[in-house]
Structures are given as structure tokens and as C-alpha cells.
Subunit: 272 residues, 3 copies
């Protein structure tokens, strides 16, 4: 099903290119795979740059982006060896670059799905929380254990605190203990849980479902959702009504409605 497997073209160096791989299906689902299992897919500065570079390289064309990992750890968060050796200036660079990635995902016009099969901890858990959607296998676990080593997961808490209820976020941040996939589902960190065997196929199915939608419409919808959710109910409702009217005026809006009434499949602009 996957059309081609290659190291990311846009990687800055041969070194970087090994950290992630990008595969884009004919349906334009781009799989970005964290591929440094020996280092537990740690978010070193190189890894952050590699993911950012990959997203940049596919974001124009992709209809859906999937973040996944090889090995048993989705990502263990920042590379602590790198952090320990770095100057304060580099610390700023690392955390700012990590924020760049999180905000790039939030603002991506192609929906980004985290598909987790294993452990996602610290900034790795932050990455899951930052995605538009997240699914995982039953055995997956999530933790923000920075507090165990005297480094409170303050940046992961930004995304975690907006994804799950307050008591669960504080439990994770204060105790550092992992939660199960069931607790992650209950708390809202993921919206679907599958067996480890089903995860890949189900992730592909969901991504495929999203890839059949009009990208123009998805883009409009995601942008408005992120904008209206911060506003008062009255302002959010008014703004979103205007977006609905604008949506209906789009070529894909007209086509979708016609196709529905004519009981046929729509043909989006992107497919012409």
C-alpha cells in the first residue's frame, strides 16, 4: 500500500536523514516515522529538526500526516545527554525548537495523527497531545516523568493540560507515573485504542478516510475550530456561521452538496 520508502529528502544532512523516514501514499497520506529506536526516539535537536523538516516538506501536498515510531518507545522526550551537555543558550534553542514543532502541528493545514504503539513520555507525550488526533495500542503508556529527575514537565504540561482533564494532568505531572491506554482514552489524550496487531491497519484506515475529504474544506474547518474555541460562545457562534456560509460558496462546498443530493461521490478540486 505504501508507495515508497525513503529517507526524507529535505533533511539537512545525512546524519539527520537517518532519524526519520517519510513515506507518502498515492492517496497523499504522509507517514513520518521516528526511526531512532536505539535512542528511544529521543527528541534531540537533530530529531526535532528532522521532524520539522519532514512536516514542512509534505505539508503542502499531504492530505493527512501520521506520526509514528519504530521500536517500543514512541518517543522518550528530550535527549537528556544533549540537554546535560548544553549551554543555557542551547537549552533555549531546544525548547523553542520543540515549541516550533508543536505550533507547526497545531497550525498544519493537513490533520496530524499520532499513532502510538509503546511508551510516549515527557516531550514524547507532549507530541501526542499536540496532534489533532491520537490513537494507540492497548499496551501503550503515557507519562510526564520529568519531575523524577528534577525537571518538571512544564512544556509537556502546556499540551497535556489542554488535552486532558485537570486532575489527570496534575496526577501525571506530580507523580511522574505512567497511565495506561485506557486511562488515556478516558482522559482524552487519545480518541481510539486498538490491539497492537490492528493499530497499523486502523491508523491507515483513519488516515485514508481523512484523505478522501476536501483538503480545502479541512483547512478552513481546522483553522476556524482553533480560532473559535478561544472565543466567547456568542462570538464563536457568529464567526462560525460566517465560515459555514463561506464554506458553502467554495467549489468543493458546492460539489459536495450536489453530489450528496445526486447520490454520487463528490470530486474535489484537488482530484481534478
Amino acid at each position: 500500500m505504501l508507495a515508497r520508502t525513503r529517507p526524507s529528502k529535505t533533511c539537512l544532512s545525512r546524519c539527520l536523514s537517518a532519524l526519520t523516514t517519510t513515506v507518502t501514499t498515492p492517496q497523499k497520506v504522509s507517514y513520518i516515522t521516528l526511526n531512532n529506536p536505539a535512542k528511544r526516539n529521543a527528541l534531540s535537536l537533530d530529531m526535532l529538526n528532522s521532524i520539522i523538516s519532514d512536516i514542512e516538506s509534505v505539508s503542502e501536498q499531504a492530505r493527512c500526516i501520521v506520526l509514528r515510531s519504530t521500536g517500543t518507545v514512541f518517543s522518550s522526550g528530550h535527549d537528556l545527554k544533549e540537554v546535560a551537555a548544553a549551554s543555557q543558550q542551547v537549552h533555549y534553542t531546544i525548547f523553542n525548537r520543540c515549541n516550533d514543532l508543536m505550533l507547526m502541528i497545531a497550525n498544519s493545514s493537513a490533520p496530524v495523527i499520532a499513532s502510538v504503539d509503546g511508551f510516549a513520555t515527557a516531550a514524547g507525550c507532549q507530541l501526542v497531545a499536540a496532534c489533532h488526533m491520537a490513537v494507540c495500542s492497548h499496551g501503550s503508556k503515557f507519562a510526564t516523568p520529568g519531575v523524577n529527575i528534577g525537571l518538571f514537565c512544564s512544556t509537556p504540561g502546556v499540551q497535556l493540560g489542554r488535552a486532558v482533564n485537570r486532575k489527570l494532568a496534575m496526577d501525571m505531572l506530580l507523580t511522574g507515573e505512567p497511565i495506561s491506554s485506557e486511562a488515556a482514552l478516558r482522559g482524552g489524550l487519545v480518541s481510539r485504542v486498538y490491539s497492537s496487531e490492528e493499530l497499523e491497519a486502523e491508523t491507515a484506515r483513519i488516515a485514508s478516510v481523512i484523505a478522501t475529504k476536501s483538503n480545502t474544506v479541512l483547512k478552513l474547518g481546522i483553522k476556524n475550530f482553533n480560532s473559535q474555541i478561544k472565543k466567547s460562545l456568542v462570538d464563536a457562534a457568529e464567526q462560525s456561521s460566517q465560515v459555514m456560509v463561506r464554506n458553502l460558496g467554495l467549489e468543493d462546498g458546492k460539489e459536495g452538496l450536489s453530489a450528496f443530493l445526486e447520490k454520487r461521490h463528490p470530486t474535489w478540486q484537488q482530484d481534478k
Copy 2:
């Protein structure tokens, strides 16, 4: 138990009167029933006007309002035939009128409960999310599938995004796939799930429980809740303390407290 069944008195026309029926029990629970199963209880402009008119007609007297439907679809959302045939001007009218309904529910002094037995999709799901409370049967499903036809559920997302956790809202909005009653309960779209057989009786029981409260006190409480939840913790706490003191000064506040201490049932002003 239901005192009378009639088409809504305040309907604008004979045509409208068929779309919804309103029944008010002696206990002043008003059941507004969407009654156009042949059109899947679509929220056409006429249907929106009929519900709005019904709420207006009962809101002064009702102690609790229940929204429910006949047929297997609670509501399928906007009437897409109507939308397709309409001018941009009418599109504005449709979405604004829909917003009027949602805000009317949010600001209703009588609590509004959605009782869902079947499918609630798009603006139908929005309607459920907009109610103060929502209960459903086990087989009920909820979806925001507008994205499937090139019309992102941007207005439903306003209420959905405030009712459930972010990951679930995005899953529903991006994939268009339905969620089960169990997922709706877990995510916070409904607070109780019953068997299809029990739903009517349990809805009646809950509405009856609410109808035995002081309407004056409910009104004060709902208004303060909606106001304080937007504020900072300190401001919310201060404002709500003042409301507690004001509540204690109400006739019904004094009566309720006395009745409690005297181990008798309170008699509210509304029942005198």
C-alpha cells in the same frame, strides 16, 4: 402522566405546527418533540422556527424542558435540500437562526435536557451539545459528518468543542465517523446512558426531579454558572460567594433551609 398533546399553539402556520409538538405535564415539564421523522427531523428553517417558537411559548412556565424526537433519528442537522436551493442571504438566515436556538437554550432559565434515542448528526449533534443536560439510549450515535460532503461542521464544532475533550471533537469533525453512546458518555457529550426501553421513563424521572426544585433558584444558579465559568478562578469564586449570599436571602432559599432543618418538604413560591 402527560396532561395534553397538542401541536404548538404559537406555531406560525399549520405547516409549522406539524414539525414539533409540545406537551406540558401538570408538573410543568415541557416536552418539545421533533416530529418529522420522514425528513429525519432535519433542522430546516421551519423546524428551527418551530423549536424556537415552542421554547418561547413554554419558557416562562416550564420548570424543565425536554427535547426529544420521534423516529430513529434525533435530528440529521440542517435540511441539505433547503441549503442547496438557498441564496447566500438565506444561508446567513439559516445559520443565524440556528445560533439563535443554541443561545436561547444556553440562556434558558428552565434547564433543557436532550433525550436522544437514535442518531444525532451535524446540527442535530450541535443541538444535543448545546443543551444543559443530555441523556441517550445505548444504541444512540453521534456524528459531525459535514466534512464528508465538503461542508465542515464548523457551527456544530462550537458546541461540541465546549462539551467534549479536544481529541474527541477533532476526531469527529475530521473523520466524520459516528461515535457510540459509550464514547459520548466517556467524552462528556451525555451524562447518562440507558437502555432504549428505559430512556423515556428515566428522562421523565430526571425532568421530574428538576421540576421539584425552586425555579427561581435554578435560574439564579444556571445564570451564575454560565457567567463564572468564563472568569478567572479568583473572580469566579468571589462572584459565586456573593450569589450564595443572595440565594440565602431569597424566599425559596430561606424556606429550603428551614424545611431541611425541620425535616419537612419545602414549599417553593412557585407552588403557592
Copy 3:
């Protein structure tokens, strides 16, 4: 395991000292026990003052604070006899003092865990919702039943509405009906549920886990979490990045990182 059991030293009077007891373990976990089961651990003004006084007395030294109760009722909320007999001026005093307690918990530099084995209602439920973490036994129940006696739980709604999803909060506030521990877990009011037999040991274990962390780091992390969660995503991310860098510059941040890389247990400043 508990080092000493004594009435709180800082209590204002002999009368107050009976309402709560404070025990601090050698590990500096402070257990504040509401100890007026005959009055269902009602939050009378004396009880509020006693808890506040206890928190004040331990907050400098404690690494974790546990709130728990004797008897089958964690707390039934305000003392309604006291409320009924009080002037409006005293009503203000009661609700303001209750707010003081809630804000004191929110701002406590030592994490506060509610450990509930039984009923927590009205301001008792508010107290649970106000804590950083909450755990309970399977048989525990939570309710905001003020509406039953004509006194809407407006102040409890401040904390409840920030802890659980909107539909559950409104269900509890409007119907006054209790929810089970399972519903509390699902809705986010507690993050862990244990059997009644396990609750004490598990609470002690969690508190002990938190007590082994660096208090300086916990303090920094909690303060930033509370601050960032109110801000826009961009501002929250930027502020939290700066806190991460500051955290790395702390003695305990350096020690934790070194210990991790050297595969040894860290020794925090507080333990030297």
C-alpha cells in the same frame, strides 16, 4: 509509619483542635484529617478555620499534603445549622473563608491530595475538586445537592466546573443527584479509584512518591502550570520554555540530570 498523632498545634482553641488532626510522617507527608464524623465533617466556620490553620502550619515543611476524613462522610459541605442561624454578614464570612481555603490549596506549594472514602457533597465536593489530585474508594459518592434545599451549589460549581466536563457538572448541579466513583473517574473529578481496603495504603504510596521529588521543582512546576493554562497556546509555550531553562539552572535540576545520567538516585537540596 506515621510519626506522631496530635491535635493541630496552631488551632485557635481547644474546641477547634478537635475538628481536625494533623500528622506528619518522617518523609514530610502531612495528613490533615477532618475529624468530626458526628457532624458529617461539615465545613463550619470553625472547621474551615481549622483546616486553613493546619495547612498554614504544615505548608512550609510538607512535601505533600493529604486531606482525608474519619467516618463515612468525607464532608457534607457547609454547616447548615450554622448558616441558618447566621446574619448576612456572617454568610459573607463563611463563603469568603471557604474561598480562602480553596485558593490556599490551589496556590499551595506542596501538592494537596484529597483521599475520599465515602460521601463528598456540596462544599465537601468543592474541596475535592479544588485539590491538585483526588483519589477515592469504589463506594465513594459525590454530589452537589444544594438545589434540593433551595441553595444552588454556586461556589462548589466554580471548582466542579473546572474539574469535570460541562454536561456532568450541570447534571450534578441541576438534579442534585450523587455520582458514583466510576462516574467521578470518567468525568475527571478523581484520577484513581481503589477498593476501600486499599485506599489508605495507596494514598500513602502516592503521597510518598510525590514526597521523594524535589520540592523546589514541584513548586516551580505547579506555579507555572496554573499560570500557563490560562494563557494562549503561544504565550503558554513561550513562558513554559523559559521555566524549563530556569528549572535546568536550579541546583536540583542539575543534580537530577546528573543522577539520571550517572544511574544513581538524586539527592535534593531539601535532603542535605
